[in-house]
Subunit: 391 residues, 2 copies
């Protein structure tokens, strides 16, 4: 299926034609800018003369950063809509206000948060935002509880599992995170000086661990996870705000392992730590960064334990929850390591490292690979986030 | 959806109306008998004057053993059709010749094996059938390989996972195997003398282990498993035959853990062992019985390793396979224990134990519960089937 691609010129008429967007902005005085800096989509910020605004996202039929040579179904916007709707239901304060899907045009609309900052950028700049990690840990717990066998009865869970397919975006993750970094693949790229470090990833047991985590990713249909919950998928407000954070870019959503979202946060915090280390950021900032994984995990566990008495099936005992949390932690550490490695070796890089000068970039990349490998290989032995410091 | 229920009188005209059954039997000379001794369906054996025959199965809109008070969707025949078609594709010699589905009437048709014996009955009678356990282990491996991430590429796997829903029959398993035996449930039933043994199942960590295995059953979408692979779901031929076994009753099929099918065999072999012990069957027979789990596992592992070079994704390494097999063994032991327990405590009993006189019945039931519990609780420490003897 292909649908007309929106442009800055056609967006006002398009919005005027959409009943679910009626009244949100004055369609006769719209200013439209296209701000999509992601890889896969068009993103329009639409503002009227009174200052009211919204964000409109349209999935394109190809991977934007590569071009039309990499076709990709626009159905992924349906997955993103599922992700937003789950958040509306279970953790509404964690996302931009959501205005819904227009399935024929493959668009979704939401609150304009362009005055906010992408968290990765704030971290890159050395800025502290308290409460963000806690909000994210809670978000993962709430969705993980609400959409899993804990929050849904058996029949509802099966319907949800079977209606959350997102095959193309899952395949991207399977390839780019679990496979390509450990093989000769043309999409891989890294600084030449890093070659020995990268090639050494293919030696020893790391590929076997990656295989095991890939299999878990492909077969463990626990909950409607975000699927791409890195620090670039989170908005943070002005430091003076009482708000904490908003999660966005949920187009990778599918029924998968809850640990994958937790791990994505762990791994991306590692990138921020490596940057801060080579830039010799103040010790206070670095200590704050190093504590973020603990904040994520504590919030996740606390929220899940708070929701636990409401589980639909009492067959899941308290002792079971303890074990499920331990397993989820261990898997998250593994996923987090792989998420960090792919940002050094694979197709899609992260600005945390890429914007550094050559010498610190190499140093930071080496530290990430070293630490990430220790996570993946040692994940069954770690007992808490204190074991996960940059090494 | 409800469809006309077939009767002995209406079956001939029905078969004559079905193009996919044309020519299999002479519809003008049919003799029809209804032989369904299962819990959920009508089963007709249809024979013509020349001796040609077939089996016709129709799902009923309720659980037959309970009656119309327990409604059950007839869609389960679609799940059974999926199970048979997977077997036709990957292990055709393991099932009766399959003639296909008539979706509107909710019937499937297959080779008439009424001259064969249900394996549970042969085991109850103390009869040896060599090769059956090997055939079953191979069957589980072939379907487990062919329908999983080993045999299907990422996209095909997702389509298969999402189109194999069998919610009502999964719920029966979730309740009857993982939950009811460990709770006060009106469907439970056991010999009064067994009460202390049954109540002790609720003490200690067994319920936590059952919770963990239930969660795996509900979330690990590995392959299109049989879902009810006990010794009553297997036909064995006359001892003089060169044939080995045919699997049937695949209506519980869904995307679940491969270990569940392996474990079902383990647990049901345990019931046969317990019967043979209290009946003081010849040592040779009992030794043969005790070796069947090893035969199942060896065949399963051997077949999977033979298929392994054909896996579609080389990211799954040899070392990964070793670990996958170890995990599958451990999970199978746990599932097997629970499958055995439910046959003593739960709604659906097994003739292995139920047809015994009172004193040996109690002794056998106690041995099953004792051994099964040791399996579930000790499953992570066992290294091979020799650890699983009746105790």
């Amino acid at each position: 299926m292909s649908v007309p691609v929106l442009t800055v010129a056609t967006v006002p008429d398009y919005i005027a034609s959409q009943p679910h967007l009626a009244g949100l902005v004055d369609v006769s005085t719209l200013d439209v800018v296209e701000v999509g800096d992601g890889n896969l989509n068009l993103v329009f910020i639409v503002t009227d003369a009174t200052g009211r605004s919204l964000t409109l996202k349209q999935s394109l039929p190809y991977v934007r950063m590569v071009g039309e040579s990499w076709p990709l179904s626009q159905d992924r916007i349906l997955a993103e809509d599922r992700g937003y709707r789950a958040a509306v239901q279970f953790s509404p304060g964690s996302i931009p206000e959501y205005f819904g899907l227009d399935e024929p045009a493959r668009t979704i609309a939401m609150q304009d948060l362009s005055a906010w900052t992408v968290w990765r950028r704030a971290l890159n700049d050395g800025r502290v935002h308290d409460g963000v990690a806690t909000e994210l840990g809670r978000y993962v717990a709430r969705i993980g509880f609400g959409t899993s066998a804990f929050g849904l009865d058996s029949a509802a869970l099966k319907i949800a599992q079977d209606n959350a397919a997102n095959p193309e975006l899952c395949k991207i993750t399977e390839d780019l995170i679990f496979t390509h970094p450990f093989t000769d693949h043309p999409d891989n790229a890294w600084d030449a000086a890093l070659t020995p470090d990268v090639l050494s990833l293919r030696e020893g047991g790391l590929v076997d661990e990656a295989a095991e985590l890939k299999y878990i990713f492909m077969t463990r249909a626990e909950a409607l996870i975000h699927g791409d919950l890195h620090t670039g998928s989170v908005f943070v407000p002005d430091e003076s705000s009482e708000e904490t954070a908003r999660v966005f870019d949920i187009e990778f959503a599918f029924y998968g392992p809850v640990a994958f979202d937790v791990g994505s946060l762990f791994g991306n915090i590692l990138l921020a730590e490596a940057r801060a280390a080579v830039l010799e950021r103040p010790a206070e900032f670095r200590l704050w960064l190093a504590g973020l994984r603990g904040e994520v995990w504590t919030a996740f566990e606390t929220e899940l334990r708070a929701l636990w008495p409401n589980r639909v099936d009492p067959a899941f005992t308290d002792q079971f929850l303890d074990r499920w949390l331990a397993q989820t932690f261990s898997d998250a550490v593994g996923f987090g390591g792989l998420k960090a490695i792919r940002r050094i070796v694979g197709l899609a890089k992260a600005s945390d490292i890429q914007t550094l000068d050559e010498a610190p970039r190499l140093e930071a990349a080496q530290a990430v690979l070293r630490t990430a490998r220790s996570w993946v290989e040692g994940r069954r032995g770690f007992t808490g986030t204190d074991d996960l410091r940059l090494s």
